[in-house]
């Protein structure tokens, strides 16, 4: 097996063009899959016997919450790769991920509290999941804050990468400490092992919607990655040629 495909990912011009080529595929499939998932979830799926139509917010809430954690992991892995092998493009990926992840965390919190008002009678409860999601938002904000406080790009990259890696180690500890601290959020509807506690006609649109949101994330990150690469390489000749 040759590793040239992997080594080429370290080259900014190659990554810039690759991101540009892949982006429309992800964007169009995301649009298609999200529409399909939302139509199936909001129109076709049956109403819940207890929560009525209110439960349908999960078709936005669950994908956003899932992405908020997945993007943090991506960010940490990219930052770790950048820190260890000193790959500039990896740092650009981490930088591109952070604002997207923070936005999905904010969406998960907002939809969660909109769901909480009719179901639990209050917009906010100090429930473990809500609290750990809120702390995740602060972790994202800290990461972006640290990144923006250095003028030197290389220092910003490396310092924020250390923080992202520390965050990855810490996220499970925060998660479980908060769970032991106070347990109203309904248990998880999805699990890899064991039986899902959600009816199939409701589950399928949820999975479709999660896939759609994930594709959307990929498309957005590719656009942001192109921007990051351009910003970092603005004095290089290939940029002038690419933009000419």
């Amino acid at each position: 097996m040759t590793w040239t495909w992997f080594h080429r990912l370290g080259s900014p011009p190659y990554v810039y063009r690759l991101a540009g080529r892949l982006m429309p595929w992800f964007a169009w499939s995301a649009a298609l899959v999200i529409l399909l998932g939302l139509f199936d979830g909001l129109v076709i799926a049956p109403a819940d016997y207890q929560q009525g139509d209110g439960f349908r917010i999960i078709y936005v809430h669950v994908p956003a919450a899932w992405l908020s954690l997945m993007i943090y992991t991506w960010m940490g892995v990219a930052a770790g790769v950048g820190l260890i092998w000193r790959i500039k493009v990896a740092h650009a990926v981490a930088a591109a991920c952070a604002p997207v992840g923070a936005s999905f965390t904010a969406v998960a919190l907002a939809t969660g509290s909109l769901f909480g008002k009719p179901m639990w009678g209050t917009y906010w409860v100090w429930d473990p999941r809500l609290t750990s999601e809120l702390l995740l938002l602060f972790l994202y904000l800290g990461y972006m804050g640290l990144r923006s406080s250095f003028d030197d790009l290389q220092r910003a990259d490396r310092a924020s990468a250390v923080l992202a890696v520390v965050g990855i180690v810490n996220v499970p500890i925060v998660k479980y400490s908060v769970v032991w601290w106070n347990s109203l959020h309904q248990g998880s509807s999805l699990s890899l092992a064991g039986k899902d506690t959600i009816a199939t006609p409701m589950l399928i649109p949820l999975l479709v919607s999660m896939l759609g949101f994930t594709l959307f994330f990929a498309a957005v990150v590719l656009v942001r990655l192109q921007g990051e690469v351009l910003r970092r390489e603005r004095s290089a000749t290939w940029v002038r040629e690419a933009l000419a």
Partner: protein, 221 residues
């Protein structure tokens, strides 16, 4: 090991000659705990309920204040750079510095905490428990905080940023610590949250100096 002892002794000596770095966070801690009775109610029965939270939040804020001084002076006068160039392991030297920092800020705070507790209506029987939980907890705060302090080296007005970086990371310490203190005040067994706190300290002793050393190296580049 010799270098470790030298760094530890040097930091302790510096603190003896310039005590304000350790005295100010302590004064801040006592002041913050004084604000709560003024803001809420002077009734001891009410204050006793919120005492663990008040003690821990005040300890957290005071620890953040103290963390600003952990590396700042040594970074400014080039001492950290000499440590990095000394051929000794920077990780170990930073562990020694953090240990000195805990001896100078965390331990005194744990020792005066019963005083603040007494003012909040905590019974005398809970004093050892309060000192033990805050002593162990502040060790974790110093270690985890050392990463934040190292990352914000060279950042202008890094104090606010330091709090945003460190506070979400130390939430588990706050949770288990205030749980242990609550149990101690009620006169119940504190072993379970103390063991979890201990586990966090063990993990932090192992990993935090590594991350802090990486961060200090980045700041020297």
């Amino acid at each position: 090991m010799n270098a470790l002892r030298l760094v530890l002794m040097r930091d302790l000596m510096l603190a003896v000659r310039r005590p304000e770095h350790c005295v100010h966070p302590l004064a801040f801690f006592l002041l913050v705990t004084t604000l709560f009775p003024l803001a809420i109610s002077p009734q001891l029965s009410q204050l006793r309920l919120i005492a663990p939270g008040v003690l821990w939040v005040a300890a957290l804020l005071s620890a953040l204040l103290a963390l600003e001084f952990l590396f700042r002076d040594d970074a400014a006068d080039g001492t950290l750079e000499q440590y990095a160039l000394s051929g000794q392991s920077l990780t170990w030297l930073l562990l020694a510095k953090t240990a000195a920092h805990w001896l100078l800020t965390g331990l005194p705070l744990a020792l005066v905490a019963p005083l603040a507790g007494a003012a909040l209506g905590v019974p005398v029987s809970a004093f050892p428990g309060i000192t033990a939980t805050l002593g162990l907890g502040s060790l974790a705060l110093s270690l985890i905080g050392s990463i934040g302090a190292a990352l914000t080296l060279g950042v202008r007005r890094g104090g606010v940023l330091l709090s945003i970086l460190v506070l979400p990371l130390v939430v588990p310490v706050l949770i288990f610590g205030s749980q242990a203190t609550t149990l101690a005040i009620r006169g119940e067994a504190v072993a379970a949250p103390m063991e979890l706190l201990g586990a966090i300290v063990v993990l932090a002793v192992t990993l935090a100096p590594l991350a802090a050393a990486a961060a200090v190296r980045i700041s020297l580049e």
